[in-house]
């Protein structure tokens, strides 16, 4: 599903040039659950942003579903992204002014799904995430665990092929964290490819494969059994 080759990304300030990704190559197959680990500043988040087409690489190739996307413009990337990729963030990133239902509905609006179909699909996914009873609440009225469920619901409502999760349990206690990891595992078992950035060895154990990064390069891959 994903194949990146010699990916490079630099960050420049006036005086310093930082290499975030240094000729990084990797691939992820359809249906895999991959964890990316490494110390702060190793390039995990940069990698995830590029994989999610939120950012573009400076050098190298990124093939997504057999399409070279490294040099797509913003509009094309947005188009590909909204149909194929769901995001889960550490800080949930729900819109405060929208209710649970409306937050989850948002991706469907951007992909042009009809109103009736939207209601059906949002209710379906809220049900699955066991958050239906909170559908008319605002994010501030929910606990962290509930907020992350809503965020996951939003990530999957469009039935994306790939979910990118950036430290999805980082802001949660261990019990809520485990619930979230179970949810992701379920989704993966139903066929969704998942790539997750994490600091937690515990969370990483839910994955099939751990890619460890250091200074923008792959230093080790562990296959989980």
């Amino acid at each position: 599903m994903i194949k990146i080759t010699n990916l490079e990304k630099f960050y420049r300030t006036e005086e310093v040039e930082t290499i975030a990704l240094n000729k990084l190559s990797m691939h992820v197959d359809t249906g895999e659950f991959v964890a990316i680990m490494g110390p702060s500043g190793c390039g995990k988040s940069t990698l995830l942003n590029i994989l999610g087409m939120l950012d573009d690489p400076d050098e190298g190739s990124y093939v997504f579903n057999s399409i070279e996307v490294a040099h797509f413009n913003e509009r094309k990337r947005a188009d590909l992204r909204k149909h194929n990729i769901g995001f889960v963030f550490q800080s949930f990133n729900l819109i405060d002014e929208l209710t649970v239902f409306e937050n989850v509905e948002l991706p469907l609006i951007y992909t042009g799904v009809t109103t009736a179909e939207r209601v059906k699909r949002v209710e379906e996914v809220l049900d699955k995430m066991q958050i239906m009873h909170r559908r008319n609440h605002y994010p501030q009225q929910l606990s962290g665990g509930q907020q992350q469920r809503v965020a996951i619901a939003r990530a999957v409502v469009n039935k994306p092929k790939l979910i990118l999760a950036d430290e999805p349990t980082g802001n949660l206690d261990s019990s809520n964290g485990n619930d979230v990891m179970e949810l992701l595992t379920d989704l993966n078992e139903q066929g969704t490819t998942i790539i997750m950035v994490t600091h937690s060895e515990h969370d990483a154990r839910y994955s099939h494969r751990i890619i460890r990064l250091l200074d923008g390069q792959t230093v080790m891959e562990n296959i989980m059994v």
């Binding site: 942003n49 950012d55 992204r81 929208l98 991706p107």
Partner: protein, 792 residues
Amino acid sequence: MFKNFLKVMFRSLTKNKAYSFLNIFGLAIGITCAALIFLWVENEVNYDAVHVKKDRLYIARENQKYDTYVFTHQSTPGMMGPAIKAEIPGVANVCRTSESTNSLLYSYNNKPLFAGTLYAEPSLFSMFTLPFIAGNAASAFTQLHSVVITQKTAVKFFGTDKNVLGKSIRVDNKQDYTVTGVLKDMPANSSVQFECVMPFQIYWDNSPWLKSWGNNSLTTYIELKPGVDPKSIDKQLYGFIQKREPKNLGRVFLFGMTDWHLYNDFKEGVKTGGGQIEYVHLFSIIAWIIIFIACINFMNLATARSEKRAREVGVRKVLGAGKKSLALQFIGEALFMSFIAAVLAVILMALVLPAFNMLVQKQLTIGFGNVYHILALLGLTVACGLIAGSYPSLYLSSFNPVAVLKGLKLKDSSAAYIRKGLVVMQFSVSVVLIISTVIVYQQIQHIKSRNLGFDKDRLLEIGLQGDMAKNYAPIKQDLLNSGFVQNVALSDHSTIYGGNNTSGMTWDGKAPGSEILISQRYVTPGFFETSGLKILEGRNIEEIDTASKPIAMVVTQSLAKLMGGKGSALGKRIHYEGDTTAAVVVGVVNDYVYGNMYGKPDPVMFFSSSPEHTDRMYVKIKAQQPVEASIAAIQNVFKKDNPAYPFEYRFVDDQFNQMFLSEMLVSKLSRVFAALAIIISCLGLFGLAAYTAERRIKEIGIRKVLGASVSGIASLLSKDFLQLVIISCVIAFPIAYWAMHTWLKTYQYHIDMQWWVFATAAVSAMVIAVVTISFQSIKAALANPVKSLRSE
């Protein structure tokens, strides 16, 4: 998707009430201001629009060339109108009228009332659009003693405008007139105004001087046939009077109705293109400036608050929103807020319109029945929304989702400069307005305190009515006996206004070919004492002078200088060219200002007059007497000595103030606009200060932990804003200087600008800014640092 935008917008508006209020209220003030100004502009621009033939109607004006200037006026010889109609083929019609309305006494059922009456030829009704609601144009003036009145006058006379046709009303206690027509009330923005109109023939029969080609003393309106070029008529009019009377200096030309109100300014006999139109332009510009300031506010607040919206932008982008859809969303929000502001503005307008009408001396209405008003308001609203939303939408929609979702602080570079630039712009405008307001005020005070050469205080002007001239001696005696009155005299002209003048005088030693315009006034003895003119040389005018040969006269100092050269003018003689009747100078009084309060007055000759040849009385109230009791005492005298007429008077002081109406209007409006510009700017500054405090909350926390004091932090936050205000002053000073310099130059008699006005404006702008910011700065400085640091 649209529904989703609406939801987010509505919830974000209600959630951030203070922000929404600042934004919407600022815009609403802007729209209210602009809409009021545009109502005024509409009224001005549509002056005389009611007259269907306005494009073919002209007033005959005359240029008279003198030694030092060309005098453009609108008095014409009485014989001219019919001659023009008979001889010039392009002329469709001509109407002669008296030069102004005369206040005549009407009495119906013994109820005496004054009404402004015009004498006009019947063509008035066909040339101007004056619809009859009773009677008709054809039969209105078939009888000599007929009068046509307006609806309002009908109500004033008879209590109703129904069934008044044919009613008889007594005029001046002498003659009965029949009401032969009732006209629909004319709009206030029509140049033709009167309460009653009577046949011109009456005026003609009573005014023998009208029959001379050498005398300019009535108004001539001319209607051209369709398609006739007024320039071709002007060529024929240029020597029209001189063919009959070579000595008349007047060169006649046509002045089109569409220019009467807005472009009535002549210099050296040529239309300058200026006049009331300058105020129309000035206020239109001010309206747009205020709108712009309000929009700047909106931009500032919207971009300053953008960090709060950043996450929404990020999430929407991640979920697939394009830049365009986000930009549209934010433009949409601005438009929506602009519409709320417009609704609020309509309410504000309804509230302040009466006050505004009082300010501009008009009866403006919002006029929702008028499609153009609705369209204009819509246009204004959309313009506001688009201007206000343009920059924020570009700014917000270009956020990088990766950065904002990571919670990184936005780079504070270009946007910050733009925000600061906007604040500088607002404050520059405010400072210019403050300076202009002060200088306009100073100039008006300067003119009002000008030494006029006569004493206008406690001086009453009373129009002569009925038997007042005949009974002048007993009236004067009774007034003086009342103990309230210091002096009484009669005159044939208002002291303060212009009046009869002539250039036909000559004297020994006058430079050959020189044309000097001299005013002539007929007064009774005691006039100089009453009006406070000082006799510098020679003697006062006496009663006996009415019959003296040669005629005795008193002249003003400037004429004395012209006649006497280095020596005295006493005993020098003056006479009309080609006439042997001479007048001799017996006294000299000081020059005094009349007519144009900003200019240098022409010389004046005073002649002694018997009471019958005057038409107004001046009464000087004693300095120590209370004014109200004095008026009451004077009224009692008139009740006794002239019982048939109601007592009406005017203070010369008030007449004087009346001469500054447009300057006063500019002064008042500039004060209002300056205040509003400052209020709107402060709303913006307040929002920006809040934003800065919020942005620097971590810095403030750390500084406090490290030991910074509250005052230290408050001044840290205020310093940046003060810099902006100082930059604003640097920009505003030259602009204000240039604008005011240009304005003052239009007055001969004007102040010099003083540096302290600029300094005061700068200091007040800074004080206002500091007060506005300090609330936010102190709040931020007092906040608990633990909270702000934990939130990071």
